[in-house]
Amino acid sequence: MTFSLRFRAAVVSIVLFAAFLGIWHLATRSTAATTTMTPEYAKLMGLTATQGKSAMPGPLDVGAKLWEHLKQPFYDKGPNDKGLGIQLGYSIARVGLGYLLAVLVAIPLGFLIGMSPLISKALDPFIQVLKPISPLAWMPLALYTIKDSSISAIFVIFICSVWPMLLNTAFGVAAVRTEWINVARTLEVGTVRRAFTVILPAAAPTILTGMRISIGIAWLVIVAAEMLVGGTGIGYFVWNEWNNLSITNVIIAILLIGVVGMLLDQILARFTRMVTFPE
């Protein structure tokens, strides 16, 4: 009896995951305390010192804590203590806003660059210099000039997600087959109409690939940006728990950041499939 590939792959995945959890559990088991302490001294010390508990939480600790968070994702106890759902909401909203701004700038500009060799050559040096700058390097400058921490975070998202979209759009537009454009010319289609009816559909898959890369980068950056400015968001949550040296909560946050990042990527992947065409 043979099973489908899909089923066999799922089995392997589960086995790998179980092995990972098992090794993790064994590696973080507590060892008996090595030093003897007076009871009143032991009362003042943490579990790591008294019971030899590993500084790294095990999978059971993380699971229990995760369940605790999931039971109550939207609680709000003042400005510095909010549920994970609310924190993720803030982060997604920031990413969404910064990303939308980047789309509004990158796609028209990318079109212009792709269609005009002059502009392409003129802007090229700027793009080459600005593109490799680490998004977080912008943060102090943004805080200093914009003078508002949440707008600065959005600006950083914008500045880092704009380049892949810009370059991919420009490339997609420039790479539209010349025959198609020539046909449009022969039929005396105007520039604007040509852009929308010929170039845009032809370049759409490349543009969407750029957008997909961008959302990934934006999500990468928001966590770091929020750790830096604090206040709200999943990055702030990580920072706050790091401050408390609660590695359990940091691991949970990492897990959730991964899941949300995957979902964002999947949404854009679906759009990409919608606009892809066979040649």
């Binding site: 001294y41 790591t48 750790m227 830096l228 604090g230 206040g231 790091w242 408390n244």
Partner: protein, 461 residues
């Protein structure tokens, strides 16, 4: 007679004779009382205000002490009070006095860094000190010193928790644009420590520390100056013999665990946290370097004071009030519980209790007790600011000449704080300069340049 004495007590002298504040027989006794009882609030607010108003009236009526005494002795205090009340509306005057101007802005944002130094700022929210003074304050946890500086300069925060030297640095334009900042209150005194990695438990003599790596939270911090001072007193040049790194507090514990640094001079709950987690031990408390040193401050821009003087006054009152409450040993357990949740410091209660009550594990198997491990005293001594300026100069943060006194008096608002303390029935010190000793070496705030010149180890400027 001081403002808080009972004006109807014939045995009180009306004018100062013995000491500068007039409350004590001699200057020595004044100093003693000033250190011992600085934050002792009077029984009730209303009584306090009543006393203040009555003092003023009696003083006005009897400018000569002899006449007042004769009058009070002949009629008795209660008759005198009744008599005065007849032609002077004491009650109304008291009410008017007690009602400070209404705050221009009631909803305020105050930033803080989650360490026990911020105790008065934080606890004033859950324990209702802001509300008591008519304010609705949101205390916002902030990711680091540079961010708190930028957010306060950007006016996202109306006021905030800062390291004591930061407002001076901002005012002078060191590491930021020069913007006039002020310190109406010191958040805490003492409350830091030098924590070393467990592997150094036999290396207790700083002379053996050559080549070690130490972490401090920020360049413009008492931590930096105290650690440099301590090393230099032991003959190590902090710029060449050891490595000092600016590291955020939680990373200090992680780096100590990872064996990446050898120790740190850090704010508390971080020192105690390293001990709690079994990665370090307490070498000395910062108190042993300079007993009563300031650490963090409550800071606001001059602009905020000009635009919202009443809000600023109410805020200062709330902070001074909270600081007075925190200075009492019997309240410390309650405070530890109030500031431990995720919303505030986000740390285990045991750790905060050890810091605040002063009964703590030292990391080497012993339990130590020092009730003054961390203490609270709001008065912004201008001599503190002068000392910080000498150290800024000593380590090359300030180049050229500096007018110590002018900067200290511009930033550290001792006079205003003294006034607020008086209004609240606390006893502020009579002067705003005092000399003190750091590791046994006396500091005279009147001669900062001589003090600076007396150090052998300093950055060549």
């Amino acid at each position: 007679m001081s403002t808080f004495d009972n004006p109807f007590d014939p045995n009180r002298r009306l004018h100062a004779g013995g000491c500068s504040c007039g409350q004590h027989v001699s200057e020595a006794e004044h100093d003693h009382a000033a250190t011992a009882l600085r934050c002792e609030p009077a029984p009730s607010e209303e009584k306090r205000y009543e006393g203040v108003v009555a003092s003023a009236v009696v003083r006005a009526m009897f400018p000569k002490d002899a006449a007042r005494r004769a009058f009070l002795k002949s009629v008795g205090a209660s008759t005198a009070l009744a008599a005065i009340s007849q032609f002077f509306p004491l009650q109304t005057a008291t009410e008017v006095f007690a009602q400070a101007g209404t705050p221009e802005k009631k909803d305020l944002k105050v930033g803080f860094i989650p360490i026990t130094c911020a105790t008065p700022i934080i606890m004033a929210a859950p324990l209702g000190f802001y509300a008591k003074h008519g304010l609705n304050v949101e205390v916002v946890k902030t990711a680091g010193w540079a961010v708190i500086r930028d957010k306060t300069i950007n006016k996202e925060y109306d006021a905030s928790h800062m390291l004591a030297p930061m407002p001076i640095a901002i005012t002078l334009g060191l590491g930021a644009n020069a913007i006039p900042f002020t310190v109406p209150a010191i958040e805490n005194i003492n409350g830091q420590g030098i924590t070393l990695a467990m592997k150094h438990k036999d290396k207790r003599d700083p002379k053996d520390w050559k080549g070690m790596k130490f972490a401090i939270p920020f360049d413009y911090s008492m931590h930096n100056y105290l650690l440099r001072y301590y090393l230099a007193e032991h003959g190590l040049d902090p710029d060449t013999d050891v490595q000092l790194r600016s590291v955020p507090p939680p990373e200090m514990v992680a780096n100590l665990r990872a064996d990446n640094i050898d120790g740190f001079l850090a704010p508390d709950n971080i020192c105690q946290r390293a001990i709690y987690d079994g990665v370090g031990f307490m070498h000395i408390l910062s108190k042993e370097i300079w007993d009563g040193h300031p650490c963090c401050s409550f800071a606001a821009s001059r602009e905020f004071i000009t635009n919202s003087p009443n809000s600023f006054a109410a805020l200062t009152r709330a902070i001074v009030d909270a600081t007075a409450y925190a200075s009492k040993a019997e309240n410390r357990k309650q405070i530890a519980e109030a500031i431990a949740p995720a919303n505030y410091i986000n740390a285990p209660v045991t750790v905060l209790e050890q810091v605040l009550t002063g009964t703590y594990a030292d990391g080497l198997g012993g339990v130590k007790t020092d009730a003054k491990r961390v203490d609270f005293d709001p008065f912004p001594w201008q001599s503190f600011a002068v000392w910080m300026l000498t150290q800024m100069k000593r380590w090359g943060q300030i180049k050229g000449d500096v007018d110590y006194k002018a900067v200290a008096e511009q930033v550290y608002l001792a006079t205003d704080t003294g006034k607020v303390m008086k209004e609240m029935g606390l006893t502020p010190p009579a002067t705003s300069y005092k000399s003190f000793a750091v590791m046994g070496k006396a500091f005279d705030p009147a001669k900062p340049d001589d003090y600076l010149a007396s150090f052998k180890i300093r950055k060549a400027s």
